[in-house]
Symmetry: C2
Subunit: 241 residues, 2 copies
DNA sequence: GCAGGATTCAAACGATCGTTTGAATCATAC
DNA sequence: GTATGATTCAAACGATCGTTTGAATCCTGC
């Protein structure tokens, strides 16, 4: 296969042009909906260049994802480490943890301009992609980060059952993922002017943080009883024998 | 083409079998990832039956969606009407509105057993589908309901800017959509036993409602100033936790 | 029974997909 | 300048997709 020598000066041009185009097309069409011809066409490179540089469509998607996701999650870990070191053994505040996780995401996206926004929306949509290899890539890439942040939240909220914290982390991921997935979905609930999300992106972080913090610290649901009462609609949920 | 007379007794069998299979396959693979051969194969009907009964893949997807989504949204409107009639002109409580919207969704899904759960996950994933015709279908199907519920929330929270309510509605939709989209995504954040979401589905509603209510009623973000500060990280400090 | 429309079926169509091939082009090292 | 390996290119491959076709089969009304 690729017998890479040290002569790699110009190929970064083609490689990155493919990555940029793929990022945009995958974001707009989803993994299955995007075609290599569309991607290489938009990148103005030959169709075979995609396979030459990446090997397959799956590998290309993985490369698009990891190019920015890996540095994002490294930064997330670094910020959390720094916070915990500064706290000196004391638990962090929930607002700090959420800002380290979601704030780092949004600030990195803002710092990268249009490209960062495209990647934001790609991430938001990728988290709901059904293809199995995508789920595998995501779970590997997020494993460390989620484990560390979960632990931080457990320490920050010792009175809240861990199960509940995991659920609420899940809800927060969903709210964020959905919010950054793009204006198209937002246009579904409102009739505002389109575009102009550039201005809103900076305003999104405080909005989102308030919402997430409110949800995370909400009073616990009434009955976490281990015996769930059969609600008004007492439908049997046994499997047929 | 379809010159439907009144002889439609048996075709409901084939039609519904296709709809059920399509619901499952679309849920598992997404719109682009699902193939008519897979659907008709799982339904044990001929490949051409799909086109005979529905005309096209897009129309089939739309039929799958509307079959349950339409009655869901009708029920949502009915429940809201009933609440407002009972309140007699007074604004509803936010918790009532959220329960009417999200509770109706989950309760209907629970009442329909496994099929309801499949549709729940299909809805959760469909809300993030990039295909344009899907977005068109969704926006038409949700237009009335979202308008009515937005108005109800405006009246319930007169002190909160409408813009903020719309954003938080958006966040709530995302959290819910993500939570019901399936265990696969949840397995990303936790290592729990798979399956067993059957038991959790009934517990999901109180959990979700607590989180959503907490987020909806959270203190407003600090500066909604028309002049966005150069990222002063304006941390809201209005209420004590 | 039979006529006629509704439905099913096997087979194929054209298009598009991801991928491969093999030669042409480029850049570098001797 | 020539050899060598990296990169590009046009063209095709086989597979799969959504869709169409036309005949076979089923069902119903008379």
């Amino acid at each position: 296969m690729g017998a890479m020598t040290e002569a790699a000066i110009d190929n970064r041009d083609t490689r990155e042009r493919i990555l940029d185009a793929a990022e945009a097309v995958f974001m707009a069409c989803g993994y299955d909906g995007a075609s290599l011809r569309q991607i290489t066409g938009e990148a103005e490179v030959n169709l075979a260049a995609g396979h030459y540089h990446f090997g397959s469509k799956e590998a290309l998607f993985q490369a698009v994802l990891n190019r920015r996701l890996h540095v994002l999650n490294q930064e997330r870990l670094r910020v959390l480490d720094e916070m915990e070191a500064k706290a000196g053994g004391a638990p962090l505040k929930p607002s700090q943890i959420l800002d380290a996780f979601f704030g780092t995401l949004l600030r990195m996206a803002i710092a990268h301009g249009d490209r960062g926004q495209t990647f934001l929306r790609l991430i938001g949509r990728t988290l709901t992609e059904p293809a199995e290899f995508i789920r595998t890539v995501l779970s590997k890439e997020f494993a460390d980060v989620l484990e560390r942040y979960k632990a931080a939240l457990f320490r920050a909220l010792p009175e809240v059952p861990k199960e509940e914290i995991v659920w609420r982390f899940h809800f927060m991921l969903g709210a964020t993922s959905y919010a950054i997935a793009g204006t198209d979905t937002l246009r579904l609930v409102t009739d505002w002017q389109t575009g102009a999300i550039d201005d809103d992106l900076e305003r999104l972080l405080p909005r989102l943080m308030s919402f997430l913090l409110g949800g995370l610290r909400a009073p616990l649901p009434a009955a976490a009883s281990p015996n769930p009462q059969p609600r008004g609609n007492g439908r049997t949920r046994r499997k047929k024998p």
